[in-house]
């Protein structure tokens, strides 16, 4: 079972991201579950949503406490939302920022966390290609770029299905760009102490920007 936690702010499409992620996971052949942690929050307030992938039918309804993957749609949440909390050893943290992984670790107070930190300027990409600060597709594209739970193709499919027409296409492009960004920046932005251990970017396995410290 893979568990994902998504942090963001109201209006950024956090809940949509969780649902799209679940849908993409379903297309990848998983049993899936998306659980938004809804509040009475309005636009701008911190929001959390969860997603699970599993090969067996999902039963539990508890929130994700020990995520394998954390998506942070807003770097200002790095401190208050404690995105590294409960992160499974070697878990992935994908952050929407133009900054780099060390900056993320610093601002999250997670310099020594056993995690792989990946950054992607998701909102910027979304603004460029979609014209709106909706980073979900970019975040999922980045996710597809650094883990094999979902594919870029599935991400594109679910956004096209949800937003038929131009918006869906734009989101697909956003996802592709983010995907490429993650892949392309793999070595240039890598701040991993074990830089030299990084696997080559060839083959089906996608190599994240930051590799596990394990």
């Amino acid at each position: 079972m893979t568990q994902v936690r998504i942090h963001g702010r109201g209006g950024q499409g956090v809940v949509t991201a969780a649902e799209m992620l679940a849908r993409a996971g379903f297309l990848a052949g998983h049993e899936v579950q998306a659980i938004p942690s809804f509040g009475s929050e309005r636009t701008g307030a911190p929001v959390v949503a969860y997603c699970r992938f599993s090969d067996a039918r999902l039963r539990t309804r508890e929130p994700v406490l020990e995520p394998d993957v954390v998506l942070v749609q807003d770097p200002t949440l790095l401190g208050p939302a404690r995105p590294f909390a409960g992160l499974a050893p070697g878990g992935i943290v994908i952050v929407d920022t133009t900054a780099d992984a060390p900056w993320v670790r610093e601002h999250a107070g997670a310099q020594d966390a056993d995690a792989r930190v990946v950054t992607v300027p998701a909102t910027r990409i979304a603004m460029d290609l979609l014209g709106r600060p909706k980073p979900a597709a970019a975040m999922l594209g980045a996710y597809a770029g650094c883990a094999d739970h979902i594919t870029l193709d599935a991400v594109q499919q679910v956004f096209r299905a949800r937003f038929p027409g131009a918006v869906g296409e734009a989101n697909a492009e956003v996802a592709t760009t983010a995907f490429a960004h993650v892949r392309g920046d793999l070595y240039t932005r890598d701040d991993s102490p074990e830089k030299g251990d990084a696997a080559a970017p060839a083959g089906p396995r996608i190599v994240p920007q930051e590799v596990s410290r394990a």
Binding site: Q33, T60, E62
Partner: protein
Amino acid sequence: MREVLEGSQAVARTVARCRPGVVCAYPISPQTHIVEALSVMARTGELSACEYVNVESEFSAMSVSIGASAAGSRAYTATASQGLLYMAEAVYNAAGMGLPIVMTVANRAVGAPINIWNDHSDAMAMRDAGWLQLYAADNQEAADLHVIAFAAAEELGIPAMVCMDGFVLTHATDVLELATQEQIDAFLPPYSPAQALDIENPSTIGTMAGPESFTETKYLQHLRFLDAAGVIEAWSERFRKAFGREAGGLVARYDPDTLDRDGDAPPASAEDLAVVAMGSVVGTLQATLAPMRAEGLPVRLVGIGAYRPFPREALKAALGDSRHIVVVDRALELGAGGVLTGDVGRALAHTGSRIHSVVAGLGGRPILEASLRDAVRRALADELPALDFLDLKAGGVPEPPVGATEVAR
């Protein structure tokens, strides 16, 4: 076709495929996604020959449903929490009038303090309103239950609530398989109202009953309600045969080891600790108990499908010889304990059972597997008190910040 759907969408689509004539609702979290979806379908024509009525209150929502049902339409509404209480008078009325309205209750806590998150205190407040109360363990069942609810309600002339945990289910996205239009058309008989307002055969509906007839009226309602258990069981069984999956029923049994739902699972035995629960916590319990069984712990799970009528016999049958019961309860009867526990206790009267009430998940507090596991372990170790509040924080409610206190003064 298995698909990924939000629970509310699943319910809305299934309700639409039941072909209601009138859908009327007033928005309240966490019911909104359901009625929003229905309003869209009414506009797009996906929901045809149906009036979607936006009203000014839940009270009117139920009242419109009453009028619609009496006038010969399959009527549907949805609400939660304060909304259910605001319509309370009409909820009782619909039942007394024998109008088979189906209502989704997206279970939510009742204030004060105001709280939009899940527990069962709203539906529990309506437990004696004369409605069937069917609880969904997951979104698949939530959707399927609506089909069963319409069928049973209409056969009985008793309205039905389908209770699904607010947010936990309504807003969760799951993989599920919706009953198709063709399947529902084949399964659900067309609505033929027992007492429609008919200009050809006019009748007076909703008369006043004096002391000379009120008791008898209630007695007949009671008898009918007793019949409801058999009707729910029968429709659930028909559903299982037609759709190849279990939904509804009075009590859900689970395989002792896989914890998969299995109507043929054996009853609990004398050495078993039986955990009784209803709603989405059943899923979390499935996830929690399976590893414990694997450890060899004697634990069984029994789910309550129909809270009203309360399935005393089916529950006793499922509990078998087990005399040690933990009820995971999502509503609190102040000064007493869990509400469901009270019903279980009454069902098990004179059986010599030890019953623990574990009050959990009030006002949206997540129910964690670890906490459940802990409670079960304590029960097995005879360390669980008769009433336990799961994950109760020491020190009570946090103090407000100083500044706020100053302003308040």
